[in-house]
């Protein structure tokens, strides 16, 4: 038996197909196709959780995505555990473990329930007011306490073992929602020949047909028609039908996010399947068929377990074959709830009374109630409910006062009417308009190419919905270019048409009362909280929302927003449209991080770039540092060495013997064409037309504002061909910068740019023995000082493969940079290393590279400059041509502020104590004893221990720095003040003779 409350002959599940699961350790039997909610109800369980703030007992309120109460912890195994799963959405699978949340020690007896007694102190805004003083208590006491108490559920501790898929899809017509409206529209669009995607959040199509009885379409039972139609659609080549798929976000230009739950309902996991699949759909036309959501009644103690939406009670009966009680009362302001009473009564469930707060319900439902012998109390209201862990009675009174009559019930179905789901329409930035007659917001002005149909468009009548849907399907299909097919006609019949509806507080929960009449169940917001917010001066709905947290839980106020708005409007004495509606935002229902992050996790989160020599570096014990996305060898520690020792050794070895450095990450751009030199003249401050083929030059690139943007060595290979290098981090933006000027400012120049960063591996061989190391490997290039002096470039061969060989140095030593095609990078490196190692040379990493260049005062753009330095500030004015009529930045350099006295200039700093190494970023002052805030002159940009100088060295930007040479300045630190002397920027080999070694 799959639960005592299962009614034989009711519902659509197969009694023989059972699944077992546990709820708080108790084993229960469900049927395949059950949701956790329907299975619990079948087993007579209404109490499933404790509320967020007051820890009140809570039951299952709905049968759909709007559920605010029944949030459970669902697990398959230790790693696959998910908190806050809506019991009304999650399907049961065999072996599932379900636990209630927010209770201790148990669901039935919860210590936190004490909060309910203290609730007079926990009014809306309590936190904002109470935890203001004493200020110091915030960090020590309040915040840790609130953090512990806040939040529902416990996050899983293990990594998510599942994988998620993502796909892009394009279609003519995307239909969101597969109820009568969605299916009809999809059918019409598909028959017209359009490429259609239709999705629905439920496991099966049908929408409201899931609970309705007595609806027929073309003579068929509504539900059966829906399933047949879905099969017809799925069999068409131009249609994709997606169930368990929520359209959660409507973005720009008809870009819609869908998430498909693939495995969460399966008893056995298929590893090949993703847990969820993210669909990113670009649709020519979107049809929104999102339906509507029933609202609850707002009365005192309306949150007891056993009180649920009428449509939910009907769903559990008609779809799952579960009676939600044995004595089920109904409290409504809308005809639709009557049909729930009829269905229950016909199934043999006692219905003690239908309480209708209206004086004049629809005549047809009234007549049917009489015929079935159900007592109807019109003009009456439920003013209270009784019971502890489940509703046991309702108190009913005539509207306007009088004594209350107690009616025993074990469940109460409520309905105050239906709220059209305009969420996605609103996300599309369409403007809703308020329909005063029906008291609801409906789609008004459309901003994107979409159409709303059916209940979400305020269309209530079945045939009107079908006609609207068929017309929309065909119209959108034709507009998207479909030309085929015959027109579709469908005829729908239903038992009753509905009237009625109310929003706001019901009888007994009005402005003069202080009862707990909940509007937002998930955040425990009552009608009186909204009124308090208004009394406290919140007059905008956005403020009221934030003050009370109404609608701010994960259900985003699907049930509460309209009630909250109506109560606020009443308290403010304004019309609802004047108070306004809060904004609907993506996602419609919660979406897992897994689906959003998708493949972008682990090594794919931010893919690492590795040089062609990476494997060798790894094998030789390199420590790596991240430079942008590059993994660069940082230093090569030998046994027993820390970073400091390794770097000191590498620095010494390079200057005494030689070192190999992997410079492959350098940005490289091939600039080709008859106007290449002229183009570089415009892009760099230097003059390039004077550079002879076979020679290189250090170039500085500015932006038009005159600030240093990038630098690098440029080699001229031929009259019309330059090999440009950029900083490692700057490569993409320099390429973009060059393309920008070439395409839009200098399009007359005949130049072609190609990024070649990854085409060349670059091996820097630096040090006194550099020439000796590579000479035997090089063919076709005379390496002598005379033939190939400093700043030369030549093409030839090394180790038998083509090379562009540069004679250049970023260390101040005799040096070469060997460029070989990337595929030969590691082989060339190994061949050079084979010669270098026996001579006593070393491999060195980026840290040693930094120290060696700082010893020579060579700057690093982005470290020693920060986007506010001119070439002159960086002591590079020698590189700015005085003869050119134009280059990018020529005018910016003349701006008054850029030529002013006292600008920050790059200088060297020597600590008075040579053993002290300054901190990079530390501030510099003239007088360490001045009152705070001190006048800061600049900051340290680069600072290292220099083994070659036998002391610390630093570069810094200092206001009027070059005029301060020899002055003593101070670097105040937290624990001491460091005295420094301003020096020039070259600390080693000031004459520069070693370059030409």
């Amino acid at each position: 038996m799959s639960g005592a409350n299962r009614i034989a002959g009711s519902g659509r599940l197969t009694p023989a197909r059972t699944a077992r699961f546990t709820f708080d350790g108790r084993t229960l039997t469900a049927l395949e196709g059950d949701t956790v909610a329907s299975a619990l109800l079948a087993n007579g369980i209404h109490l499933v959780g404790r509320s967020f703030k007051y820890h009140r007992p809570r039951g299952i309120l709905s049968a759909g995505a709007e559920e605010p109460n029944a949030l459970l912890d669902v697990s398959r195994d230790a790693a696959r555990r998910q908190p806050n799963v809506r019991a009304t959405v999650q399907e049961v699978f065999d072996g599932m473990k379900v636990q209630s949340q927010n209770r201790w020690p148990s669901l039935a007896f919860d210590v936190g329930g004490f909060n309910d007694l203290l609730s007079p102190f926990f009014a809306a805004g309590f936190y904002y007011k109470t935890f203001m003083w004493p200020k110091a208590a915030w960090h020590a006491i309040y915040e840790p306490f609130i953090r512990r108490a806040a939040g529902l559920g416990v996050a899983p501790t293990e990594a998510d073992p599942d994988h998620y898929a993502s796909r892009y899809a394009h279609c003519d017509v995307l239909v969101i929602g597969a109820g009568v409206a969605g299916l009809s529209a999809a059918l019409a669009a598909a028959k017209a020949g359009a490429k259609v995607i239709i999705c629905d959040e439920q496991p099966e199509v049908g929408g409201a047909l899931r609970y309705e009885s007595g609806t027929t379409i073309d003579g068929k039972d509504g539900w059966d028609w829906a399933q047949t139609t879905a099969k017809t659609l799925a069999a068409m080549d131009n249609v994709t039908v997606l169930t368990r798929t929520t359209g959660f976000g409507y973005y720009n230009h008809n870009f819609v996010g869908l998430v498909e739950r693939v495995t969460d309902h399966l008893p056995a996991l298929d590893k090949a399947l993703p847990r969820e699949r993210l669909w990113q759909v670009r649709a020519k036309k979107v049809i929104l068929a999102n339906g509507s959501i029933e609202r609850h009644m707002v009365f005192a103690n309306n949150d007891r377990p056993g009180i649920m939406l009428a449509s939910a009670g009907r769903t559990y009966l008609n779809h799952y074959g579960v009676a939600v009680g044995s004595k089920v009362g109904v409290y409504t302001a809308h005809d639709s709830a009557y049909e729930a009473a009829f269905d229950l009564k016909r199934a043999g469930v006692a219905v003690p009374a239908i309480v209708d707060c209206r004086d004049n319900p629809g005549e047809a439902v009234l007549a049917e109630a009489r015929r079935l012998g159900i007592e109807v109390l019109t003009g009456h209201s439920v003013v209270n409910s009784g019971g502890k862990l489940r509703v046991s009675s309702i108190s009913v009174a005539r509207n306007g006062g009088g004594s209350a009559r107690k009616i025993a019930v074990d469940a109460l179905l409520v309905s105050s009417g239906w709220t059209p789901s305009v969420h996605l329409f609103s996300q599309s930035r369409g403007k809703v308009k308020f329909d005063a007659a029906t008291q609801r917001f409906l789609p008004g002005t459309y901003l994107q190419d979409c159409l709303s149909i059916g209940a979400c468009n305020g269309t209530d009548d079945l045939q009107a919905t079908i006609d609207e849907a068929l017309a929309a399907g065909e119209l959108t299909a034709r507009a998207a270019g479909a030309e085929g097919g015959a027109q579709v006609t469908l005829h729908g019949d239903n038992a009753f048409s509905w009237t009625g509806g109310m929003i706001g507080a019901a009888e007994g929960a009005g402005p003069d009362t202080s009862v707990k009449a909940f509007i937002d169940f998930q955040h425990d917001v009552c009608a009186k909280d909204i009124r308090l917010a208004v009394r406290e001066g919140m007059h905008s709905i956005e403020h009221i929302k934030r003050f009370t947290t109404n609608g701010m839980a994960s259900d985003q106020g699907k049930l509460s927003n309209m009630h909250g708005l109506a109560i606020a409007a009443e308290a403010l004495g304004k019309d609802i449209p004047q108070v306004g509606l809060t904004t609907f935002r993506q996602p419609y229902t919660p979406v897992t991080f897994g689906a959003i992050v998708n493949h972008s996790r682990g090594s794919l989160f931010d893919p690492a770039r590795k040089t062609p020599v990476h494997a060798w570096e790894e094998a030789h014990g390199a420590a790596f540092e991240d430079v942008g996305n590059w993994k660069r060898a940082w230093f090569y520690p030998k046994a027993g060495e820390g970073m400091h020792e390794a770097v000191a050794r590498e620095c010494k070895t390079v200057r005494e013997v030689a070192g190999l450095f992997d410079a492959s990450t350098l940005g490289k751009i091939e600039v080709v064409g008859p106007d290449a030199a002229q183009f570089l003249n415009l892009m760099y401050t230097n003059a390039w037309d004077t550079l002879k083929p076979g020679r290189c030059r250090y170039g500085i690139m500015l932006r038009d504002d005159g600030f240093v943007y990038d630098d690098g060595v440029v080699g001229r290979l031929a009259e019309d061909r330059f090999h440009v290098t950029t900083t490692t981090g700057g490569a993409p933006r320099v390429m973009n910068h060059m393309e920008d000027y070439l395409q839009t400012e200098f399009p007359h120049l005949k130049v072609w740019l190609t990024s070649t960063t990854e085409q060349w591996a670059v091996i820097a061989v630096q040090g006194p023995k550099a020439r000796e190391i590579i000479a035997p490997l090089v063919e076709g290039i005379d390496l002598s000082n005379e033939a190939f002096p400093h700043m030369s470039v030549a093409e030839g061969k090394i180790c038998g493969v083509p090379t562009r060989l540069f004679r250049m140095s970023f260390t101040g030593e005799l040096g070469f940079e060997v460029n070989v095609p990337a595929d030969y990078g590691q082989a060339a490196w190994e061949a050079i290393w084979e010669r270098a190692e026996p001579m006593g040379a070393c491999a060195y990493g980026t840290e040693t590279m930094h120290v060696l260049r700082a010893e020579k005062g060579y700057i690093i753009v982005g470290q020693d400059t920060d986007g506010t330095l001119t070439p002159d500030d960086a002591a590079l004015s020698w590189a700015v041509s005085k003869k050119k009529a134009d280059f990018v930045g020529i005018r910016g350099l003349k701006r008054p502020d850029l030529v002013k006295e006292g600008r920050k200039q790059l200088v060297g700093l020597l600590t008075k104590d040579p053993n002290v190494v300054l901190e990079e970023g530390a501030q510099i002052v003239a007088d360490p004893n001045q009152p705070k805030p001190m006048t800061m002159l600049g900051h340290v940009t680069s600072s290292y221990w220099s083994e070659n100088c036998g002391r610390s060295i630093a570069l810094a930007v200092v206001a009027g720095g070059r005029a301060r040479l020899g002055q003593t300045l101070y670097v105040p630190m937290a624990d001491r003040t460091i005295a420094v002397e301003v020096s020039d920027m070259v600390f080693f080999d000031k004459e520069g003779g070693r370059l030409h070694g």
Binding site: H253, R429, Q743, R891
Partner: protein, 106 residues
């Protein structure tokens, strides 16, 4: 995510392939070295940041690599038109009227 028509590829492509490159129709003076501080300020620093119609540059960076111009509404993100770099600025009134006609047809 926006859908942008590249006038060089002659195709609508996803925003992922493009990068915005600031205002369009700001011409770098050919005699830039000689212009006054005020003229330089106007050229380099000052932008309108309009609410509504803007003419701006985009680059099809993960496509053909070309820079082109677009007329876009900064409120609705609707692209009225895109056109090749160097082509004249389209007539604003005509664009808006075209939009209205399209809206009426819908």
């Amino acid at each position: 995510m926006l859908l942008i028509y590249c006038p060089y590829c002659e195709e609508e492509r996803s925003e992922l392939e493009f990068r915005n490159a600031g205002d369009a129709h700001i011409v770098r003076p050919t005699n830039i070295a000689e212009i006054s501080d005020e003229e330089f300020e106007e050229f380099f620093f000052l932008r309108q940041n309009p609410k509504g119609l803007i003419f701006e540059r985009w680059r099809h960076i993960h496509g053909c690599g070309r820079f082109f111009n677009a007329a876009r509404d900064t409120v609705s993100d609707r692209f009225y038109t895109t056109y090749k770099a160097g082509e004249p600025k389209p007539d604003v009134a005509a664009i808006l009227k075209g939009e209205q006609d399209k809206g009426a047809a819908r």
